[in-house]
């Protein structure tokens, strides 16, 4: 058994709204809102790196959990936008936190990176103790590459989220967690070293809807629960239309799904923990069950059941 001690988030200050993107692409701002449910995104300053974002979220998370960096047993960072090939964001983060001597590594996945890092930490914490898990992305660096395409440029934002996973039971116990991958459609959502993001939106939506519903359906069945018995749903904040469609397919009441997509856009690997941090700060983790789920490039996906007490 593993538990989530708490969450943290860090968002850059600069705000990019739909009016600016609409002007650039010659579309109506209402079209952007209709297409993805996003109103604003955060964009890192020129000198702000993905490590800066990761560090910000990590420090907030450590403080909220009342833990010192020296007490960590490991660091796992999920990111699709590291600033260099190697070593990873985790190495720089470890250096800044001064938590040397513990394992620190990246999981180089985008939207599902935070979730895969979480699932890895659930296993790792049994041997190493509390694991700092971070999802961090500087998507604006990728989005700046030419040619800029409106369908992707409107979606993404920068940010970081963090979580600490520790062994044992607690107020947020991870009852079940599973990650899955299928490389059949790997090329339909991909990023070459210096190229623009390549996304076949129709394939991604078809696969995401199918895989998320399957994963969550199996998760609930394994644990003898129905969707109606889950009090809080935390998804990777990909696109509001996708969240609604998955929710509708599973029979989830909309008011139980935590959504902050309108404010931050799709922050890829960071989004799940940013949402969790805000949900926790707002007291949304109430006694019962919560489900966390994500889908992303790879394709990779997964879901987790958390018992809340």
């Amino acid at each position: 058994m593993a538990q989530l001690l708490g969450f943290g988030a860090h968002l850059p200050e600069q705000v990019l709204d739909n009016a600016a993107l609409a002007a650039e692409f010659g579309v109506d701002p209402a079209w952007i809102l209709h297409a993805c449910g996003i109103e604003t995104r955060r964009v890192a300053a020129a000198e702000e790196t993905v490590v800066d974002l990761a560090e910000g979220a990590a420090r907030v998370c450590l403080e909220r959990c009342g833990l010192a960096a020296a007490e960590l047993g490991g660091i796992v960072v999920g990111t699709g936008t590291p600033q260099r090939q190697f070593p990873g964001v985790s190495a720089s983060l470890q250096q800044r936190l001064g938590a040397v001597g513990i394992p620190a590594f990246d999981i180089h996945l985008a939207s599902v990176g935070g979730f895969f890092a979480l699932a890895t930490a659930v296993e790792l914490c049994r041997s190493y103790g509390p694991i700092l898990v971070v999802g961090a992305e500087r998507m604006s660096r990728v989005m700046a590459r030419e040619p800029r395409i409106k369908e992707t440029a409107i979606l993404f934002g920068d940010g970081a989220g963090a979580c600490i996973v520790a062994p044992g039971e607690g107020p947020l116990s991870v009852v079940d967690i599973r990650m899955q991958s299928d490389g059949t459609f790997a090329d339909q959502l991909s990023l070459e070293s210096d190229g623009p993001l390549a996304m076949d939106g129709r394939t991604v939506i078809l696969q995401a809807n199918r895989k998320l519903r399957q994963s969550i359906g199996e998760l609930l069945a394994r644990n003898g629960l129905t969707a109606a018995e889950v009090d809080l749903w935390l998804f990777h904040q990909a696109n509001l239309n996708l969240l609604r469609q998955v929710g509708k397919g599973l029979g989830i009441a909309e008011d139980r799904v935590y959504v902050n997509l309108a404010r931050y856009g799709n922050t890829s690997a960071a989004s799940l923990f940013i949402a969790a941090a805000e949900a926790q700060a707002e007291g949304r983790f109430r006694s019962g069950h919560a489900v966390l789920a994500a889908f992303g490039a790879g394709m990779g996906w997964g879901s987790a059941l958390v018992k809340v007490r």
């Binding site: 059949t184 129709r202 078809l206 239309n241 469609q245």
Partner: protein
Amino acid sequence: MDIRLAVRDAIQNIAQEPLPDDDSGSLFSEGVIDSFGLVELVSELEHVLGVKVPDDELIPSRFETVDKIVAYFQARA
């Protein structure tokens, strides 16, 4: 069951634009269904026609025109 009729009915229920008269016309480029409409359409046709589309066959081009959709489901009926 008339698969073509079922396909056209399902599209009509989801369509954002009138269905083209030509069954070989692209439902995507004509704006008849978007990405999310495509998910609904596949789900609805699986239900109505009793055919499960395997994950690796969930490829948008298979469902781009009425003709292609009909051919796909006829082959699996």
